[in-house]
Symmetry: C2
Subunit: 178 residues, 2 copies
């Protein structure tokens, strides 16, 4: 056993954290764990780090399953569907920002800039694209980037990202016990 002397990162190390969020409980747990356990210390110092909250609106088709028998949908249905997708995105972002604010309430002093980003498409592809575009230092996500229904059809987003993003990825599962 040896001893390692350590201290917070140097002030000049400004970091960009990307947290992929969605309507799942895993997603909010992951954000909360990161915002309370890792972010405060990792962003300590006199620099400003940024936490980007990313929500990806899934394709319309996901909301049609399993009722989509191939028939056409009226403009009204499509409009209602788009409104629903926007409402879900807004709700998720409100929850995510509340999680960040609760973490802020448990902490103090250092500033982390929190930004929100809403995109469209396949979460697996969009997350990887945003990681490159923003030169993200650490990608944070729950063990599933999709809610339980969509996950069944689209598989694990976290597995895909772990294999494809270039930056370090922190995958946080929601405890099954307690």
């Amino acid at each position: 056993m040896s001893t390692l002397e350590t201290t917070p990162s140097p002030p000049e190390q400004k970091k960009v954290f990307l947290a992929a969020v969605d309507e799942s409980e895993e997603s909010m747990h992951a954000l909360s764990w990161f915002a309370n356990k890792i972010l405060p210390a990792s962003s300590s110092g006199h620099h400003r780090s940024t936490l980007v909250l990313l929500y990806i609106k899934p394709p319309r088709s996901l909301y049609l399953y399993p009722d989509d028998a191939g028939h056409m949908f009226s403009a009204d249905v499509m409009t209602a569907m788009d409104k629903y997708r926007n409402d879900v995105a807004e709700c998720v972002m409100l929850k995510a920002k509340r999680v960040c604010n609760e973490a802020a309430g448990n902490n103090d002093h250092h500033h982390v800039k929190v930004e929100t980003m809403i995109e469209n498409g396949d979460a697996r592809d969009v997350i990887c694209q945003v990681v490159d575009k923003l030169c993200v230092d650490v990608l944070v996500m729950g063990s599933h980037g999709y809610g339980p229904i969509k996950r069944a059809f689209l598989g694990s987003v976290s597995n895909h990202c772990a294999q494809n993003v270039k930056c370090p990825i922190l995958i946080i599962k929601r405890p099954t016990s307690n």
Copy 2:
């Protein structure tokens, strides 16, 4: 955009970090990145966190491929093989502790206890078992827990762990560019 006030974790939050290391460059890069970028701040405060360096000696059979044509090996060969496995384990641990000491040289003040652990078996199973046994807070590993040869036969350890460990897992890839 909102602002999040943060500060290092409370002193009572003593953490156990588990870094799975092996002879691969990905593994040492992951340990170095974590020890320099995350560990210092995450372990800041007046508490003592522990970083456990875990190396898993792979089964003898892995060292026999592709020369194992099914014939018996003499006791001398087996003894030499075991000595080689022990030498590799010792070499990996020396490199890993050097990485930690270099990170310590870049930092200051706070103490992180560094411990080493050498186990035998399939890294995928052993890592998951050790995570449970030590009540690990964060598992840290490279994008591959095996070297290039063994990986080809045993697949990605990080994928397996990401799907099976209960604790948060930080997967760090070695940059392909620069």
